[in-house]
Subunit: 435 residues, 2 copies
């Protein structure tokens, strides 16, 4: 019982420590332009795909009319290359007049009228990564106020052309400036990605106090190699990263590339599932006007989304790493439930992996298992050996409800399940929650 | 005119030099078990996927009943792990009695009754790669006769557990032994793959005389990285390889993995297109019982197949390699036509590539262009600048019919188009055919 009390104490502490804007109690969901549309400003030759108000209005239409909004995908986020190369007469940022003739405020209204939210982008340096005007220290208050005046709902603050000292000043300053506007603006900080993503260089306690989410690592590209590289980094460093995440503050492994060109259907399911395990922000970067039904069904998977959006906001971990290339991931969820993910790094054929819930550290009891991507259900005793067939580069994802005893003893003990040391006295207490 | 005459002389010479079984005047097409089913012999727990007569009969049913056969996919090829671990009383190979209770001859009849052909597998060493009885030098005649007795139509001779000397004796010996049976048996030699795939270690003139096709390089795996690795090797070594190919004798970059787990739709089209440019054997290794309609439509693309199967049998080349990651491939086809392939190695967004047919070395004239994967057609003057939008890891493939002048001057001059040296006197002769 005292463990549960301690847990709620932790949760409350988390609330007061996190950026005090009350936003993003679950990972934000929506659409972000960068991975798919980059800095395409050639509206003359590529009018449907260039960074312009039309692109964002198109995506807003799709989110609002095709049922994405109801699933939680509500942010429509502008990335780099939206602005004019010059600030206006009063020194304020202004959008490119040809590509955003209506201005950002009008675009925000277009979104708000459809129940959506608008995100915008800036950079700590003199220039953005794409060479547009940045928001260095002396422009932070002005630009925060401009975004608030435009009724923007989220701001991503990139770090190109800035140094560690400027970042150390600027990222907290922007947090205060955004709060000072009085408008709730979700705040995404690229700071850790520019500092290697790991303590002691990165102070995740501080980040949780000033940002709602942060990019820890490099940009995703449209390839399975890129997804794997990101997944490797996040789970190899899970001991340093998972404790940073919680309601209102999230590690961000970058956009979903499902529906683009580089992932197979298996790999698309894997990205969706791994991002759910990681409690990652779900920003699609794709073309919602032409996306295939296969990709849609993955992005719209309600159980995967609900695992991602679980109210506890606990980031999951890799608990098993087999020589066969099979890995098992686990995330504790509210109502004593959990998500289990079996992932294959193999590139040959489906692999029949044999294990049991007790081998995966579940305590004695009978569990209900729901297969996230097939909708199959089963009852499973902790001791029952079962086989999951995992496709190459694919996943099998389970939602495991746990009416019976549930043991989270390996959580936060570092590394994988095999070879762990734990205290036997922990065996039968319920529920086990890490501190 | 004399060029055309020389060309036909070459073609005739090709005929007499190639393995004298009259087979595979165009690259063989069909289905091969290995990549997708490996050495799965666990029929108890995995009855639908284990290496057994049921698997080959299932695939035969699909080829015959679902229209694959009519497209040219007629071979059903057994790979490793089909045999008993022991030869029979008379020293002959025998199939595993549990997994092939009907025997190979009955299976061959099952296929022949459906208008299909059966391929089987052996190895130059004492053991196959999977540890089953091999066909070393002293067993070659016996086993060739056994395969003929079983009415097998194709034989793949692997090289595990054999050395260079044994291979130098064994591969020609098997060729003679197969011919001596009097049964036309297509002969696939893994020999070059075991000798680095390049001259002087590999004698492609000799290979063309004794084998119908040969694996030059490592096994394909179910990943885009593997496809790229193979493509890189074949085109980096195109000067050594293209001249080896022709009717009856083919370089084999290994199976098509379209319909499996690792390739996106873009990447699937890329494999199909690149294999067509390479005049590669088209052996699918997938599950034809469950294959998606998207993968099917790529594998069934009639224009891609007809380019692959072009009667001239000239293996195509990479002619442009841009810093942007765009590459252009070209294959001359019969009727003065050609195939052009634009391929993107990028992993960001569709790339708009600007060029013209004259920049790609086509001579003055007006050409008809047919887009293989979209069925669009266009007329294009050689001098007209055009833009092709190539998706990341994707292709745009054109069949270019050439009523007008056509210049193949860069063919067999090595390397890429840019920076080439060619003889201006060649400019206006038609048609240009390499020697």
């Amino acid at each position: 019982m005292h463990v549960a009390v301690l847990f709620f104490a932790f949760a409350l502490t988390g609330t007061t420590l996190a950026l005090d804007n009350g936003l993003m109690r679950t990972p934000p969901m929506g659409w972000l332009a960068w991975e798919r549309y980059r800095c395409d400003i050639d509206c003359e030759n590529d009018p449907k795909n260039c960074i312009s108000e039309n692109l964002f209005m198109d995506m807003a239409d799709r989110l609002a009319e095709d049922g994405w909004k109801e699933l939680g995908y509500v942010y429509v986020n502008i990335d780099d290359c939206w602005s004019s190369k010059q600030r206006d007469d009063q020194g304020r940022l202004q959008p490119d007049p040809k590509r955003f003739p209506g201005g950002i405020k009008k675009l925000a209204h277009y979104l708000h009228n459809r129940g959506l939210k608008l995100g915008i982008y800036g950079d700590m340096g003199k220039l953005t990564c794409g060479g547009y005007p940045g928001t260095p220290l002396d422009k932070i208050e002005l630009d925060a106020q401009t975004f608030a005046d435009w009724e923007v709902d989220m701001f991503k603050y990139d770090g190109c052309y800035s140094n560690a000292t400027e970042q150390e000043l600027g990222y907290p300053l922007m947090s205060k400036a955004l709060n000072a506007t009085g408008r709730p603006i979700g705040y995404s900080c690229s700071w850790p990605a520019y500092q290697g993503g790991l303590p002691p260089k990165v102070n995740y306690t501080q980040l949780g106090e000033i940002c709602n989410l942060w990019r820890n690592y490099g940009d995703i590209q449209d390839s399975w190699d890129s997804v794997l590289n990101i997944v490797d980094w996040f789970f190899e460093n899970q001991d340093a990263l998972t404790s940073a995440a919680g309601p209102g503050r999230w590690n961000d492994p970058d956009m979903l590339i499902i529906g683009d060109f580089g992932l197979s259907m298996e790999q698309s399911r894997s990205q969706m599932a791994l991002w759910a395990i990681m409690a990652a922000p779900l920003f699609m970067s794709n073309d919602l006007r032409t996306i295939s039904s296969g990709a849609q069904s993955i992005l719209r998977n309600k159980m995967a989304i609900s695992i991602n959006q679980d109210a506890l906001g606990i980031q999951g971990r890799r608990i098993v790493k087999e020589k066969s290339g099979i890995e098992v991931f686990w995330r504790p969820l509210s109502k004593n439930a959990s998500a289990l993910l079996f992932f294959s790094r193999r590139t040959d054929m489906p692999y029949r992996y044999t294990t049991s819930l007790s081998k995966l550290n579940y305590t004695a009891g009978s569990y209900k298992v729901f297969n996230v991507f097939t909708d199959e259900t089963a009852s499973l005793k902790d001791s029952t050996e079962f086989v999951v067939s995992v496709n190459p580069t694919g996943v099998v994802m389970w939602y495991v409800s746990a009416p019976a005893k549930f043991n989270l003893r390996q959580f936060y003990q570092g590394g994988t399940l095999h070879g762990r040391v734990y205290d036997d006295r922990e065996e039968n207490a319920i529920p086990r929650v890490f501190l």
